[in-house]
Symmetry: C2
């Protein structure tokens, strides 16, 4: 019904139990995630307005039952932390509950920021308006000096990489202080001809994030890297709204949620929630690399990042985590042009970073 879609959040859970136990467990979830009180201690109005409503119960297989519970969008109140809390706050502490999908009400989608730049905006920032995938790499390792990292940045830029981001472990360690690193890397991409963008990692303590975002902007960066789960999911909104920067989101810690019978489905967390926070591109561990995502999961993440979702702009999928340069043309055929390919190790393994970057660029632009 239109009115239901407009104001209620419909959450699909997979419960690790038989259908006959699912009604009781579903009711427990509906109560736990809202009023968190024993049955019989809240009145009818609270029951009607606040407690989750069990909408359906369907066996998937012997010990797995799909349950849909709907919640009034007003219980979220438009706030990202409370959204995460409603979805998985307390029930994270229970066994055998996995959130497979959410049907988002318009009322809630209107209150989240979504990508400020999105696919088209990031293409404009990179001056790549033809429909080819974007190329991305990571500056590393931690332990190099700001000058050494900037040298690598220059090589990548000369080789034609569109987006050069900090490794997500680069913070403000004494080996390469944030301010000097950003200053030198921005200088390096300018020296190389200016076709590339450098996105520093601003993942940091609460007080520092703002300072680093502002510094990055002042030094000429158009975007940044953030690990939302390390700094608080709503931080992305702040950086986007206050500083106007594009955001690449990194999935650090996200794997804690990705269990077959517990957590939040990757395509929901990385594909929809990270997009709703304001990420313009979302990094995830690609199938066939050194992390265990399969192709179906990656395809589902891609679909959720790009599909219509209220009036939110689409965001770029950024497959990463051990993509072999040799397989890039194949991945382009599978993932399509609205993709950012993030390749680090496979370039570093070739030593000459300019040539390695050119080969990567060739693989991407030649495959169109």
């Amino acid at each position: 019904m239109a009115s239901k879609a407009g104001t209620r959040l419909c959450v699909t859970y997979e419960l690790a139990c038989a259908e006959r136990q699912a009604a009781l467990r579903a009711r427990e979830i509906a109560v736990e995630q809202t009023v968190e009180l024993p049955e019989g201690t809240f009145g009818e109005e609270i029951e009607r307005e606040v407690v989750g409503r069990v909408e359906s119960i369907d066996a998937i297989r012997e010990s797995c039952t799909r349950v849909i519970i709907s919640y009034d969008a007003r219980t979220v109140g438009g706030e990202i932390p409370q959204l995460l809390n409603l979805l998985f706050g307390n029930i994270s502490l229970k066994k055998g509950i996995r959130i497979a999908a959410v049907d988002w009400p318009d009322a809630l989608l209107r209150e989240v920021p979504g990508p400020r730049w999105g696919v088209d905006g990031l293409r404009r920032l990179c001056r790549v308006e033809s429909r080819r995938p974007l190329l991305c790499t990571a500056l590393k390792p931690m332990g190099l000096s700001a000058r050494q990292l900037a040298d690598r940045c220059r090589d990548f830029a000369r080789g034609g990489i569109d987006l050069i981001k900090d490794d997500h472990g680069l913070a403000d360690q004494e080996s390469a202080r944030f301010e000097e690193r950003v200053h030198r890397c921005v200088e390096a991409v300018v020296e190389a001809g200016g076709g590339s963008l450098y996105f520093p990692n601003i993942t940091a303590g609460f007080s520092e994030i703002e300072r680093r975002a502002e510094l990055a902007r002042q030094l000429g960066c158009r975007g940044v890297l953030i690990s939302p789960l390390l700094v608080g999911a709503d931080t992305v909104r702040r950086v986007v709204e206050r500083h106007g920067l594009a955001v690449l989101a990194h999935p650090a810690l996200a794997g804690a949620f990705f269990h077959p019978d517990h957590g939040i489905a990757p395509e929901l967390l990385l594909g929809q929630i990270f997009r709703m926070l304001g990420s313009d591109g979302v990094i995830y561990p690609n199938a066939g690399g050194r992390f265990p995502f399969d192709e179906a999961t990656c395809a589902a993440i891609n679909a959720n990042l790009r599909s219509p979702l209220g009036s939110l702009r689409p965001a770029f999928p950024v497959p990463a985590g051990g993509i072999d340069l040799a397989r890039v043309p194949e991945w382009i055929r599978v993932y399509g042009p609205d993709t950012i390919f993030l390749i680090g190790g496979s370039l570093y393994a070739q030593r000459n970073l300019v040539e390695a970057s050119r080969a990567f660029r060739e693989a991407v632009t030649g495959a169109g």
Copy 2:
């Protein structure tokens, strides 16, 4: 060795593999969590200074091996988000890795805030300097008006509850706006005689947290409730350092990390890391309630919150999540006096909140 303890972070992992596979997996973790590069693409100095060092490998049982890897504290650079990233950022996305314990170097412990108030400070705030446990309850449910919640707050205060906190799902929903709720609840505890403290939930978006912390302080609150994993772990530091408020930390989302063969041990995350962030009390789901923690886990959390840890103050364990009033004297014998007992449902089930609170108080003060 003293020097190693002083500068290196020793992380104990349990790997879901046999001992013969563990050397390779340990090396992969040591590289993944630091330089994140293929073998052979970084030099000796980086290897020595930055890459984790595998210190020991010991079989626990056939398919579980304990591995200790040490990291230079400088890779953390004194920042909480990077600490979480070093511990579990990328490897969260891999299977069969659980962090069982960390041996913290002095260099790092000096850089984290730790509790500002701690056990003694929170006792002073509550004016309960005798060594009895503190009583805590939660205002709920979401959906009541600010006035209705304040009425409950007054009843709890009259009944002698030391700490009355918001339910962690109370944010700024239209049913009970933050400002009005805090105003009325502070007024209610004053009317009741002023022996109780009211801690509002300031878990909110990045821009809002500061405003709510400041508002809470201005309206007379001495402490607040925060869910660190919903807002970013370092937010606790900010609230403590800038606003001087005591912090009760809520474990929302934390259960994502608590798997037998994946994640971070509860006694490490809730008992040490939450304390290092600056929490004066840490709420966790007690054994025998409606969550699946066992008594050994609870005892380990309690021990980590209270034991010496650098020069950090001890923090209060706050067992919760379905504690039956009738069992309080028994829990006091097990957990000792430096405990905050958080009972919500078992009081609400009795309808007369003043009397229920008095019974709770009797159970605690009578048991000393």
